[in-house]
């Protein structure tokens, strides 16, 4: 099996980041096709494609688009979630870097369909180069009349697009926290249904707001150019289309691979050159938040939303991490817990306290001072966070740890019994977390 490149097909064409080369490879044909339709016609095309959000949750894109008011004077906002922070994922960074016009075009089409006149691309602060590429693309698109007033001569379509950069916070990728951050607040989430409004009803500045992931928007021009039915013919019936997987870890050729949804998991590993440095031990298929899959459970798993779920994990963001048999799973879980403890926004107690405790208990185990009851203590902390936290970050912190223990409990027990790793020669890192400021130079 091979890759099926729709989004990434031209990623290595010289100059494809510029508007001329992008246009000569079919760029902005999707926007022209969209403007030839009624707004509802565009939404119907996306509905026919079956496109599901690529930011992690897989929510049907058209339902969101359809949820914004179809008439009335309200200002609508359109946001692009380019805060890519899920460990193991690096597709949005490459899309913005190499194919920024595809994202701009997708946003413009969505703006037309949802009557949005103002857009913000929320780009992760660390993605300086990607943000610069997006800036260049936006400027070029304005000059060609793809952004701004009366786009392509359409009397009833104006859309301004700005870049807003984050400043270092994983939680700001959560859509309501992103909105808080855009409005100049700490990156903490807001109430959602059933307790609060949907963003499409009341989002940023109290206005109807559409938010989609970078890759979701990048799919849209292709759907409008070739038709929803064409897109739906790829992938599986319930998970149509292609998906970019960011493959990293112990493989020969790490990188972004675009395959049809439904591709067998083991084929993706082969595409990336196979496992190096030892035999396959485990895969985390969808970013750090999804349950780890031990090698013996990988056979037969297909990479689509349903296939991953049936295997006890999730497709998530497509951050596909491969680990060989020299990997200490307990140390890997310790590092995972450290990530969530660091990124917890502190708003709710189960996550703020729970992630810290998980991290500390795992520190204790990998320092050699663990107790057998610590393993069940970790499971009980997971239970106290999962389903009890304000936003999904807390749940996402508990899933990988619980799966790590369920699938590799013997390795935790080895650590407790022997005070050392089951992997011979493995010494776990012990680290401090100081502020790294210059001594005596604070004014």
């Amino acid at each position: 099996m091979a890759e099926l490149q729709v989004l990434l097909q031209h990623r290595n064409v010289p100059g494809i980041d510029g508007i001329d080369v992008y246009e000569s490879h079919g760029g902005y044909a999707g926007l022209r096709a969209a403007l030839g339709k009624e707004r509802q016609g565009v939404i119907d095309e996306v509905k026919a494609s079956g496109l599901r959000g690529r930011g992690g949750a897989g929510f049907p894109t058209w339902i969101k688009w359809n949820g914004l008011p179809k008439s009335g004077p309200a200002q609508h906002y359109l946001l692009c979630n380019a805060d890519e922070g899920e460990p193991g994922t690096f597709k949005d960074r490459e899309l913005l870097l190499k194919l920024p016009h595809m994202v701009v075009e997708g946003m413009a089409i969505a703006a037309y369909a949802t009557r949005s006149t103002n857009g913000f691309a929320y780009v992760r602060g660390e993605f300086v180069e990607s943000a610069a590429q997006l800036r260049k693309a936006i400027d070029q698109a304005y000059r060609r009349g793809y952004l701004g007033r009366n786009i392509l001569g359409h009397s009833d379509f104006c859309f301004d697009l700005h870049i807003h950069t984050g400043a270092g916070s994983y939680e700001c990728g959560e859509e309501t926290a992103l909105m808080s951050s855009l409005m100049g607040e700490r990156g903490q989430p807001r109430l959602k249904p059933p307790h609060g409004p949907l963003p499409v009803v009341s989002g940023v500045w109290g206005s109807p707001t559409l938010i989609n992931n970078v890759e979701t928007y990048a799919c849209v021009p292709h759907i409008l150019t070739h038709g929803g039915a064409w897109y739906a013919a790829m992938g599986t019936q319930r998970s149509p289309g292609t998906k970019i997987f960011s493959v990293s870890g112990h493989v020969a050729r790490p990188g972004n691979y675009e395959v049809e949804l439904g591709t067998p998991l083991t084929e993706l590993i082969e595409l990336a050159g196979g496992v190096v440095g030892g035999a396959l031990k485990a895969v985390i298929p969808g970013g750090s938040s999804v349950p780890i899959l031990p090698a013996e459970k990988c056979a037969g798993v297909t990479l689509d939303y349903e296939g991953c779920q049936a295997a006890g994990t999730m497709l998530g963001s497509g951050g596909f991490m491969v680990f060989n048999d020299k990997t200490d799973i307990v140390a890997l879980m310790r590092r995972t817990a450290q990530f969530y403890a660091h990124e917890s926004c502190g708003k709710c107690t189960p996550c703020r306290e729970g992630t810290r405790w998980m991290s500390r208990v795992l520190d204790r185990i990998t320092s050699g001072a663990g107790r057998m009851e610590d393993i069940d203590l970790l499971l009980s902390i997971c239970d106290q966070i999962d389903g009890r936290s304000y936003c999904p970050l807390g749940d996402a912190a508990s899933w990988p740890i619980r799966a790590g223990i369920r699938n590799f409990r013997h390795e935790f027990e080895h650590w407790v019994r022997h005070g050392s790793s089951p992997i011979s020669g493995f010494v776990p890192p012990v680290r401090s977390h100081g502020p790294a400021s210059v001594p005596g130079r604070q004014e």
């Binding site: 922070g85 960074r93 984050g166 400043a167 409005m183 660091h342 401090s432 790294a436």
Partner: protein
């Protein structure tokens, strides 16, 4: 919209702030970008005066600005080294040699993680996933990413940085400001 205030914002910085405020329906939206600007104007970090100036310029209480700034890791509430080195130790990098890189950098620089060299040239810290995992181990120094760093080539990286004129926290902030402020200003409006 941008109020007069004592402080260190340059004329160019003020023009950029004015432009930025025009992007948002509410001046609150300009708080994060204004902090990026301030970080550049104040030499790569946000001393108390920078917070006070941003607050005054945007007409908000300084306590609010302090609360926002301190939430985000990329706003430097303390001064960093001229080269602020962030080594990703997250899942992929951590399994592909990141900790050996840190050991080597600690040895070369004579400091521990979380410290800065006495001459202020380097500070060293651990980073969460920089989402460049295909190039593990990844090191970020301001706006620049270095991929494929290992214990063998870490010394070359340090030599390269030593010879560079840049102050990474300033150049990072500047690059971000350039990305968020278009070449044209509000007066010459879009479209």
């Amino acid at each position: 919209m941008v109020a007069a205030s004592a402080g260190r914002f340059s004329e160019a910085g003020l023009a950029q702030l004015t432009e930025i405020v025009s992007h948002y329906p509410d001046p609150g939206g300009a708080i994060l970008p204004a902090l990026w600007l301030a970080q550049r104007e104040y030499g790569g970090w946000l001393p108390a005066e920078a917070i006070v100036e941003v607050a005054a310029r945007l007409g908000r209480p300084a306590s609010e600005i302090q609360g926002v700034a301190s939430f985000y890791t990329m706003y430097n509430m303390q001064q960093r080294g001229r080269h602020h080195i962030e080594v990703c130790t997250c899942l992929t990098c951590g399994c592909l040699g990141a900790y050996e890189v840190i050991d080597e950098l600690e040895r070369i620089l004579g400091i521990h993680l979380g410290q800065a060299t006495a001459d202020g040239e380097f500070s060293l810290t651990e980073a969460e996933c920089l989402n460049y995992c295909e190039a593990a181990t990844v090191v970020q120094v301001g706006e620049r990413y270095f991929g494929g760093v290992n214990a063998e080539n870490a010394a070359d990286l340090i030599a390269r940085l030593r010879g560079s004129e840049e102050c990474t926290p300033v150049s990072l902030s500047n690059a971000i400001v350039e990305a968020i402020v278009p070449g044209y200003f509000a007066s010459s409006a879009h479209g």
